[in-house]
Subunit: 357 residues, 2 copies
């Protein structure tokens, strides 16, 4: 493991996106979104994925110069076609439109098709904060999750992010998958040859398992709630909502047809029921409900009250967004740790494009 | 336990609401919303709560003739003040406004304050279906839930309901609490003197427990996910979003300040940071995104594909809304079972208002 500064990783990523043909503006934006995941401690969605985006490009699934455009709209809703662009660029574009609509009519909601993986959901939701808006982002992803009682993988980890502005306090930023855990946690255990806790995945027959390779071996990730008795049908319901809003509303693929991100073994695109991958983003002006200063002062009160809730000894009650903010503050100072296998992959890109890492 | 027809329970409930001074229109609407919960198998939110609504009235917390009105708005957003009315009436009023806004500008989003318990979230979300809209409903409730690492109860069971129209298939209707289980499940176990599964609640020290009285004895309901390792911070995040959208956006109370519903032992309203209980409702026109027939035909495909997913032997993969629809079809034919303790309570109302049960 080595430490890199944000600027180092940002610069490298930007150069790689330039090298595959992205415009200056798009390369910089995509690099910022991608490396913000590393900064915020969501290592699975950061620079570790850069080789995957390049692989998407190599397979003709990524258009480095997309004509991203709105193809259907009302004053507060619409569909954006990402033209096979980087989700890292398509999602902010859609969010800008949602915010323009919110500026005019109070809220804006955009469903996106024909896109690719968009990095961390939280980045896009947080774009709304600077305008005193609540930001809302969802995306579906390739199927890894077995709904309650299913032996087939039908849904992705399908995250939801909601960012809410506060006054003196830092904002509330919830950003979570609709599964018990992120798939990245299994990859970490696989590398170490360690078992997984019961309740994270099921095996090929639908039984509880501690096999950290279960998802690869015919099993599936479990929805948030883990089993029927503990509400897995609720996690399944949430993941299904994300899928329908991202895929069926926009005209993208959905459910088991969502195309895979370009990781080894997950490359082939099969039958199609729509165009590419979809997202759903939205923005609501806080003063579309009550004066912004009033709202933010009550958010401060909400945050302070929850933060001061009596806690289990040795722990504290966190506000959604606290862990990521702590990571960001630490990593801006001390650097971002990158593991040896990721450095190895980045080194290949460095050689291929003659860009120093 | 005895069986009653929908019409019997509806007629009785309507008469009780008339007796406390509701208008003809409001009494009928409130009765329909309340008893639709029994019809759909959500017994905890149906006629079993009628004595509680009357108790709210007796304590001056319920205005039988509210002046429900919109107090702040933009073309696609707004706040409704429920004037201490029955949530059963306030929420449909807010939903109508959301749908009018959606008709005009594509979507409508209403945060509600100064309301009371609104029955099942699914009823209100489903109002949107008849107009080819997606309905979205949330409500917060009195604090029973301990966020991750908290020993204090800070959130209610805070449900989310999303209803999505389909074509030939019945609609997709997800309606779920942001907790591992509904509190009603503990009440059932308490009556039978049975323990609860681990993962539903924690005891007063934050430890796992099987005590079905734990929530009464200083413990708390666990968020969806049950513990940190299985994503309880995600269930906490979802419950917090519902609380902020229902309470902080509208000017209602929020978090631990949400006033209790009038069940025995949960009556007193303490310190206040806003007005009454809040909800959040919304509607989006499907054709604000793509032509409605196209959308509905893809929803049919979504539903058929998920329904036919390979399942664990002896089980099948359900679509959100299937269980409630099966209940409704059965109970319309065979009647709605009402337990002896509930009949006892209803008999008291029957005598007090001289309304035959």
């Amino acid at each position: 493991m080595e430490l890199y500064s944000f600027d180092q990783l940002f610069g490298f990523t930007r150069s790689v996106f330039l090298a595959i043909g992205c415009s200056e503006k798009n390369a910089a934006l995509a690099a910022e979104v991608l490396v913000s995941a590393d900064l915020r401690g969501v290592d699975s969605h950061g620079i570790a994925r850069l080789p995957g985006y390049v692989r998407l490009y190599d397979h003709g699934r990524l258009n480095p110069n997309p004509n991203i455009r709105i193809v259907h709209e009302t004053p507060s809703t619409g569909v954006v076609d990402g033209d096979k662009g980087l989700g890292l660029v398509v999602a902010p574009y859609a969010m800008e439109i949602a915010m323009e609509k919110a500026e005019k009519v109070g809220s804006g909601w955009i469903s996106v098709r024909n896109s690719n993986h968009f990095g961390i959901a939280g980045y896009h939701a947080m774009m709304a904060l600077q305008k005193d808006m609540i930001g809302w982002t969802m995306t579906h992803a390739a199927p890894l999750v077995t709904p309650t009682f299913s032996l087939e993988k039908m849904l992705g980890t399908n995250p939801v992010a909601v960012a809410v502005p506060a006054g003196e306090e830092p904002p509330f930023v919830a950003d979570f998958a609709s599964t018990a855990v992120a798939y990245g946690k299994f990859e970490l255990l696989q590398r170490k040859g360690m078992p997984a806790p019961v309740g994270w995945a099921q095996d090929a027959d639908g039984n509880p398992t501690t096999d950290s390779n279960a998802v690869k071996n015919g099993g599936g990730l479990l929805p948030l709630g883990t089993d029927r008795e503990h509400g897995s049908h609720k996690g399944y319901g949430l993941g299904a909502i994300v899928d329908i809003f991202s895929g069926v509303l926009s005209g993208a693929n959905y459910g088991p047809w969502v195309p895979p991100f370009a990781t080894a073994g997950f490359m082939n695109v099969g039958e199609s029921v729509g165009e590419g991958t979809g997202h759903f983003v939205g923005a609501m002006r806080v003063d579309g409900f009550r004066p912004a200063e009033e709202f933010k002062s009550h958010m401060d009160n909400w945050i302070k009250r929850f933060r001061s809730a009596r806690a289990v000894p040795g722990e504290k009650v966190l506000i959604p967004g606290d862990p990521e903010r702590e990571f960001e503050s630490l990593r801006r100072q001390e650097g971002i740790p990158v593991t040896a296998p990721v450095i190895e992959q980045l080194t290949l890109l460095s050689r291929r494009f003659t860009i120093p890492l």
